[in-house]
Amino acid sequence: MSLSLKIKRVPTVVSNYQKEEAEEAGRRSGGCDRNCFNNCCLPGAKLPLYAYKGVDTAADEKALAELEDADIPMAFLDSLVLGEWEDRMQRGLFRYDVTACETKVIPGKYGFIAQLNEGRHLKKRPTEFRVDKVLQPFDGKKFNFTMVGQEEVLFQFEASEDGDAQYYQNAPIDIENSPNVVAINVSPIDYGHVLLIPRILKCLPQRIDHESFLLALHMAVEAANPFFRLGYNSLGAFATINHLHFQAYYLAVPFPVEKAPTKKITILENYGVKVSELRNYPVRGLVFEGGNTLQDLSNAVSDTCICLQGNNIPYNVLVSDCGRRVFLFPQCYAEKQAMGEVSAELLDTQVNPAVWEISGHMVLKRKKDYEEASEKNARRLLAEVSLSGERFQEVKALIFEAIFCSMNKTHITAQGLESLEEDVEVQSAEDLFGMKQEQGSHTAMVTGTHDCLVMQ
């Protein structure tokens, strides 16, 4: 008999077609009469398509520099997102005008950003969410993004076939292969809040894999705006919709977490990715940067996410600095909440610490909380979210074990079996931490098809 941990919360409404659970269950699965994003309504529909250019980071450092930064002309994708979003705003598709929500930077060392948003959360009956399983199968009966209205979808986002960025104003939708799409979030946290939904029609559950994370990184690179950041919440870390998606929006100030100092842990040689640990920040987390190629950075992060998912550890990810820096936060707030370990005072603020809150952008629904917002309160809340020092060390060890496995397997595969003797030089978690392997078998640790081949 297994115990399952649940919390109750009012889910954020991201689409105008998202209804209550009861209504959801009663919905007919096919033949709807409105413009949804499913096979019933899609054939014949057209949607703008942005084909992004592949960027190979290190090789194209100069090209990347040309693409980006707040100082040079807006990148096309940037204009596209802003233009489409403003269009939907003028069409009244959002539940409220987010620019009418007062915002301030809380005085203090970190510069937390607080927003008073009384309209974001509905005064509805809270729904139950299972928080003890990071991996849950997709449930077609629950709300998912194929149910959004086509007017809520802004454009398709695909890799360009010939290596140059392209834009097509009226492209058909490839239902067979399922496009990646960018849709609006009708309860925006700030201007330009969109959802990136990889392979929307494939109905993938909320879990990161190599391909989807790489897509997210490409979007960050292509938008070329350091104030346009992408985020991800796993199940159990305040994702409410179990349909694979990333979020993104604009905020033209640095996030507190971006300012936090870091301490380098190592450089993953095969990937060329530097991994650091956050210092002096209320939530413990890792920072990934560099990479010989964008794909290498992506793989380092997604290897990590896959490991955490496999070990049932909820986490959040922030893609910042135009895809140059990725922050990863394993967390346990939901678990604590389910076990009744969070103080009533904190629960009353109804702040669910997902990626944006952890990064330092707090949306507050009560005027009292906004007016009394202080750095001390913000840190207190975030401290509850963070893994303890010890637990974080354990998780770090797990993560590095998984990354080295994955990296070295690629390395070994590439070099062939003859070079197996050379593997004693290969990086391993033991070398790094000088610690014995954790309890638990190898196979339980790493999901997917990786077998651990690290030599002791």
Binding site: A58, I72, K109, Y167, G272, R324
Partner: protein, 397 residues
């Protein structure tokens, strides 16, 4: 439209009398001066010392943004801190890794000071002084498990070591994945983390700033458009700081911002494209109401419609006959929308102009007129939303 180089020339010439460059050329220090009001925030002056230090020629540097000296080993946090200091128009000093023309990295103490106009208190230029580091200020350390008061520094700091150990940090690797970093006995990975400036180097930076500022101040007196190293000493509110100018400068569209709460709703920002479209110069439009664009044959009912929308604080799109400075007219597809500030209240109007039948290559590529109108409005909203929100001098250390 003046080319960027012409703008750069003007950046200096309108502010300082003509011998300023000679005077600056006589200073031995390495420094650059940038202009935030020109799109791309380019370098408008680079000292001989700077060119010598980085190995570029003057032509290669003037007009470029400081980012060209950054590279894979440059700490992204530092880049962000500099960006924020520019946004907030304040001084910053930090250790930074830059790259020469030949690709070799070097550490320097980067000290940046805004230069304020005495008239309106805006930062009109940024002065950056670079002091190459000898490394005598650095410490050798081991990784500590408890976060102490500062970053732990690994390894030694000779420039050759810098170069070698930095090869693998995100650079293109044609060679194999062999471990390049050497480990010392504590199992600490030996990679360049940072480099500290010593007291002497910091003093050099400070005195260089002082000397350069006094040259600039002197030569600005001669034009009557005084500058000073500190803000304050200004009357009247500055239109919009350089932070907004920089973020709005990215928008290639023709547009203006007007302040809703000032009498007669004056223009407080005009994009370069607007100036090009209408033929006016910036100081000819700032502070004026947009009505000067209308003329004899402008349809009064269109004007009325605009006025009504403004009064109701509502967006509107019209086709209006406008006039350039030279008297020629053009059909303007104009979109106006109220924009809120961080307080959440309407504070500005943005007006986006598009010349009917005009050049399609205005950086919008395949975007329709409506889309271009809207993306401009969106970008303005993002920029103005955090206008008054300085992230303070918060530095997490």
């Amino acid at each position: 439209m003046e080319s960027q180089l012409a703008l750069i020339e003007q950046s200096f010439n309108s502010r300082y009398s003509c011998h300023v460059r000679e005077a600056l050329d006589e200073l031995p220090d390495s420094f650059t001066i940038t202009d935030p009001s020109i799109c791309g925030h380019p370098i408008v002056y680079a000292s001989r010392g700077f060119l010598k230090m980085c190995g570029y020629s003057r032509e290669e540097v003037i007009g470029q943004n400081g980012r060209i000296f950054q590279g894979p080993g440059t700490d992204r946090r530092s880049v962000m801190e500099i960006r924020e200091a520019i946004r907030e128009e304040r001084t910053i000093q930090l250790n930074l890794l830059n790259y020469r023309k030949d690709g070799t990295p070097f550490w320097m103490l980067f000290h940046m000071n805004p230069i304020f106009s005495k008239e309106d208190g805006t930062a009109i230029h940024f002065l950056a002084v670079q002091v190459p580091l000898s490394g005598r200020g650095r410490r050798r350390g081991r990784r500590s498990h408890d976060s102490g008061t500062e970053d732990v520094i690994f390894g030694s700091c000779r420039k050759e070591v810098c170069f070698d150990s930095l090869l693998e940090v995100g650079r293109v690797l044609e060679h194999n994945n062999s471990v390049l970093d050497s480990e010392d006995s504590a199992g600490v990975v030996d990679i360049e983390e940072t480099c500290e400036a010593n007291e002497l180097e910091k003093r050099r930076a400070a005195s260089a700033i002082k000397n350069i500022l006094s040259v600039l101040t002197h030569y600005s007196e001669l034009t009557g458009r005084l500058v000073c190293g500190k803000r304050g000493c200004c009357n009247g509110t500055s239109p919009l700081g350089s932070s907004v100018a920089i973020s709005l400068g990215r928008i290639k569209q023709s547009f203006v911002l007007t302040d809703m709460h000032l009498p007669d709703m004056p223009i407080v920002y005009a994009s370069d494209a607007f100036l090009k479209l209408t033929g006016y110069s910036r100081h000819e439009v700032l502070g004026r109401n947009c009505r000067f664009l209308s003329g004899m044959d402008t349809d009064p009912s269109t004007l009325f419609h605009i006025k009504e929308s403004i009064r109701a604080e509502r967006p509107c799109t019209v086709r209006i006959l406008n006039y350039r400075k030279d008297g020629s007219s053009f059909w303007n597809l104009l979109h106006i929308s109220p924009v809120r500030s961080a307080s959440g209240k309407n504070a500005y109007f943005v007006g986006v102009q598009m010349e009917e039948g005009g050049c399609r290559n205005q950086g919008g590529g395949g975007l329709s007129t409506e889309m271009r109108h809207r993306s401009t409005v969106g970008a303005v909203r993002v920029a103005l939303r955090t206008l008054s929100m300085g992230s303070g001098s918060s530095k997490v250390e």
